[in-house]
């Protein structure tokens, strides 16, 4: 029997579900359908189509990789969320700012299931702030059980340094609440108590939905007759198992843009480049460094809540295939006809002049009926304005004066004309319109270390070595092939005012999924 070697990449978006069938980094087939009401149906339909087009049987699929915006959308739309009880292990510290202090009122009203500021937590150097109090945790658990809440978020001060207290608190809590969905903050966030706690609460609030959605994914894979494992892509472009995603849905929050940038890298074969992803309403401009998106340094809000997820640093421009064109082409967007392009654009018989109409009139795009836009005004001006907008965006994202190639992807890519922009060559990879699903399909297993090291006892080199080893071990644990694991990012933040040169090291490692080979044949 031939070893399975093909990958199925799926992107389940709010509007469309895309599927691609990949052999290594080669696209064998792709298909796009409307997501609609039933996710399972959309996946079966899109994935079924690519299997058929690619003439591939289920037994040839090595793994299914899926990216989704379902959980981000649930938070933004404030729907299908669990009520969450919050345990913070830190008292007497941190009482000046209780949990959810800075949440939007409407979201807080949906999610807040009470909070408990309990004894526990660590100092920066690993000492206990106070010892964990078992009776206190049991009392809180009893109250939570009585209120009927079944989702709990547990955060301990400095848990990214040492997570033992969060684990112990969970074990005690489970004596009273054996079936509760418990989120431990160190599993999803880094240093920054409020942001990490917020992420843990959001995760717990998504616990029921996560089980349902991941179940819908799993059912679709089964309906397709696939026996291959299902992976879900994370914010940072690495993968987690479906079971992990069902427990940590917030880790998918930024996977959409990350996947499209990773897809751009693989389609173009470029690891260091600027990426322009033109959609229906917006254009995302980002920077690829060593094949991964540069991350945002600032905190990122999701649905109005501050988090410190690893999110790609993107600049969003109000330019897309559906953007409305006004003033004889001098003004584009920021409003767009969005998913109604096929009803409202001139080339489809609608009444609105969009960027897609302009691109068709300019001979750059072939959709609808070109005769409907023959001889319209402002084509030249609008096409020039689109180039100017993207050039200005690139100028802001570009890391230095050195010119980098610009990879152009997304369904709206044809609205941008030319072979170069701002001195950089424009690369238009084939299949750029499904870069998202392709990015999901090539995602890797990753691991991270984020710890404060005191350089009193050890040298900086030893600390860096230890941090790298920890990140690599985490990547292997997440499913990476040990031989392929490499360090892709390292950040050092000195802790001012602490003598003994305490420093915070953040290291990220990634590797190919075990058993996979990017070369094509496994």
């Amino acid at each position: 029997m031939v070893r399975p070697k093909l990958r199925l990449g799926i992107d389940v978006g709010g509007t469309n579900t895309d599927a691609v069938l990949m052999d290594g980094d080669k696209v064998l087939a792709w298909h796009k359908v409307a997501t609609g009401q039933r996710i399972t149906d959309a996946i079966v339909s899109a994935a079924g189509a690519v299997l058929q087009q690619g003439n591939a049987g289920p037994e040839q699929i090595f793994a299914v990789m899926l990216g989704t915006t379902q959980f981000t959308n649930a938070v933004i739309e404030r729907r299908r969320l669990n009520r969450v009880a919050v345990l913070r292990l830190a008292a007497p510290a941190t009482t000046a700012v209780p949990p959810m202090s800075d949440w939007p009122e409407d979201l807080k009203a949906r999610v807040d299931g009470g909070h408990y500021l309990l004894r526990g937590g660590l100092e920066f150097d690993g000492r206990e702030i106070s010892a964990l109090d078992e009776a206190e945790i049991l009392a809180a658990a009893g109250e939570i059980r009585q209120s009927g809440i079944d989702a709990v978020a547990i955060t301990s001060v400095f848990s990214p340094l040492d997570a033992e207290m969060e684990h112990r608190a969970e074990a005690i809590l489970r004596r009273e609440l054996p079936d509760a969905a418990v989120t431990l903050s160190h599993r999803i966030g880094r240093i920054g108590l409020l942001e990490r706690e917020n992420a843990a609460i959001l995760n717990a609030a998504l616990s029921d939905l996560a089980v349902r959605v991941v179940d819908a994914f799993t059912r679709a894979i089964k309906d397709l007759g696939l026996a291959a494992p299902l992976y879900i892509s994370q914010n940072d472009g690495t993968l987690m198992t479906a079971a992990h995603a069902a427990r940590y849905p917030v880790l998918t929050f930024a996977s959409g843009p990350t996947n499209s940038m990773r897809g751009a890298a693989i389609l173009s074969g470029l690891n260091d480049a600027l990426v322009v992803d033109i959609g229906g309403t917006t254009t995302d401009v980002g920077l690829l460094l060593d094949g991964f998106p540069r991350e945002a340094a600032m905190t990122v809000e999701v649905g109005g809540v501050r988090t410190n997820f690893r999110m790609p640093d993107l600049l969003a421009l109000g330019l897309g295939g559906g953007s409305l064109v006004r003033d004889g082409g001098a003004r584009i967007g920021p409003d767009s006809v969005g998913f109604e392009l096929e009803q409202r654009a001139l080339v489809f018989g609608g009444g609105d002049l969009t960027m897609s109409d302009v691109a068709v009139a300019g001979g750059q795009m072939a959709i609808g009926e070109p005769s409907k836009v023959a001889g319209i005004d402002g084509v030249e001006a609008a096409l020039a304005q689109a180039v100017a907008m993207v050039r200005e965006g690139l100028e802001r994202v570009r890391p230095s004066a050195a010119t980098l190639p610009v990879i152009l992807v997304g369904g709206g890519a044809p609205i941008l004309r030319g072979d170069t922009i701002g001195g950089g060559e424009i690369v238009r990879p084939e299949h750029g319109q499904v870069a998202n699903a392709i990015g999901a399909s090539i995602a890797m297993a990753g691991g991270e270390c984020d710890r404060v090291f005191s350089l009193d006892g050890i040298s900086r080199e030893d600390a860096v070595t230890a941090a790298k080893a920890e990140a690599e071990a985490q990547a292997v644990e997440a499913g990476a092939d040990a031989a392929s694991v490499r360090i892709v990012e390292m950040d050092e933040i000195p802790l001012s005012y602490l003598p003994g040169n305490a420093t915070r090291l953040r290291v990220k490692a990634v590797g190919d999924l075990q058993g996979a080979s990017m070369g094509g044949g496994a």
Binding site: A93, T94, V97, E123, L287
Partner: protein, 361 residues
């Protein structure tokens, strides 16, 4: 006399980030603390220096610790008041008024927080007029008020009183205790009478934070050039002179730890305009364009995001950011020979002589 209420806090925090000149810590958490304190206990009364009684007892309050710890180990609600109460108990006398020692960064919020929690009024003044890294770098100390006795409090309510006759040694010894307290301590210091405060404090700095915040917010809302609006506003204050030094993109960023400091250099470049180099030690210290001095401490060097005019702290600097660098002249009380000896270039080991920013190209 004015009142500080919930609606004023975001503006004060924004202005305090500007006066933080790259350091001082993000006021976000401190402003959440203060929001809660005011929501619970009501608005805070703030008096100008002229309005306070000569015999009133004034404490300068704030925190001491590492900003990286501050974002993880948030303070206990009663921790800042514990420091004030400990110093009162040591002196055998209640403080009549609270004041900031540092108007820049997160410490800007602490007198407001304590005033709300303890039901005391505060004074619109501070000792730094911006942010500085060490306890002795205050006009209080320069003009003869002593930091000691001062109190430090941990989240456990543990307090300690230090009585040290030199503020630089007080910084050193106090820092050791702060580390044992877990690198986040509340502090009440520089007990002085109203007469002394009028002589040694920089007036109007909390309301200046608010004015800067209001100015930036309104410019954004009205789509006006925030930089020229801010320059115009500052020209009517005792800071007096403000200007845009440079506009460009961050093209290089070097950071290192030395003796517990976040020390580094940022290079900002603009085609046709050359490059501006800014050295920092927690705060921005000196700006040079192609070797020519453009601004130097204690004058304020502030880096703002060009698009939103959001002040950027050193830890949030990043390659590729489009930034506008502003320089603001420090008020006269911060530029005397005695003041420059403590927090002028020599206080940071710089070899340059201080030249007022308005006399520089």
């Amino acid at each position: 006399m004015i009142e500080i209420g919930l609606d004023d806090l975001d503006d004060i925090a924004l202005g305090a980030t500007f006066l933080g000149t790259g350091g001082g810590g993000d006021p976000y958490i401190a402003s959440l603390m203060t929001r809660r304190a005011i929501a619970e206990h009501g608005p805070v009364t703030m008096l100008s220096l002229e309005e306070i009684d000569d015999n009133a007892l004034v404490f300068a309050c704030g925190n001491m610790g590492a900003p990286t710890v501050a974002i993880e180990k948030i303070m206990a609600a009663d921790q800042p008041p514990a420091a004030v109460l400990a110093l009162e108990s040591h002196l055998g006398r209640k403080a009549d008024l609270l004041m900031a020692f540092e108007a820049g960064g997160s410490n800007s919020m602490m007198p407001i927080y304590n005033a709300a929690m303890l039901g005391k009024p505060m004074v619109d003044a501070d000792g730094m007029g911006r942010a500085f890294p060490e306890m002795q770098m205050v006009t209080f100390s320069v003009y003869g008020a002593l930091g000691s006795p001062f109190a430090l409090a941990s989240e456990h309510g543990d307090t300690t009183i230090l009585d040290i006759e030199d503020d630089k040694r007080a910084e050193y010894i106090g820092r050791g205790i702060v580390i044992r307290m877990g690198a986040r301590s509340a502090k009440a210091s520089f007990p002085m009478d109203g007469r002394t405060a009028k002589r040694v404090a920089i007036p109007g700095t909390t309301s200046l934070c608010q004015a800067i915040g209001v100015n930036l917010r309104r410019s954004r809302a009205a789509n006006r050039d925030p930089f020229s609006a801010l320059i115009e506003m500052l020209s009517g204050t005792h800071y007096g002179h403000a200007k845009v030094l440079f506009r460009g993109k961050v093209t290089d960023l070097i950071r290192e730890t030395r003796d517990g400091w976040a020390i580094g250099k940022v290079v900002i470049e603009e085609q046709g305009e050359g490059t501006l180099e800014i050295e920092f030690q927690n705060e921005f210290l000196v700006a040079r364009q192609e070797g020519t001095l453009r601004a130097i401490v204690p004058d304020l060097i502030c880096i703002l995001d060009t698009e939103m005019a959001q002040p950027i702290t050193t830890e949030r600097l990043r390659y590729g950011q489009r930034v506008t660098v502003m320089a603001v002249s420090a008020p006269p009380i911060m530029r005397t020979e005695a003041a420059l000896a403590v927090f002028g270039p020599v206080g940071f080991g710089l070899e340059d002589r201080f030249v007022p920013v308005e006399e520089l190209p």
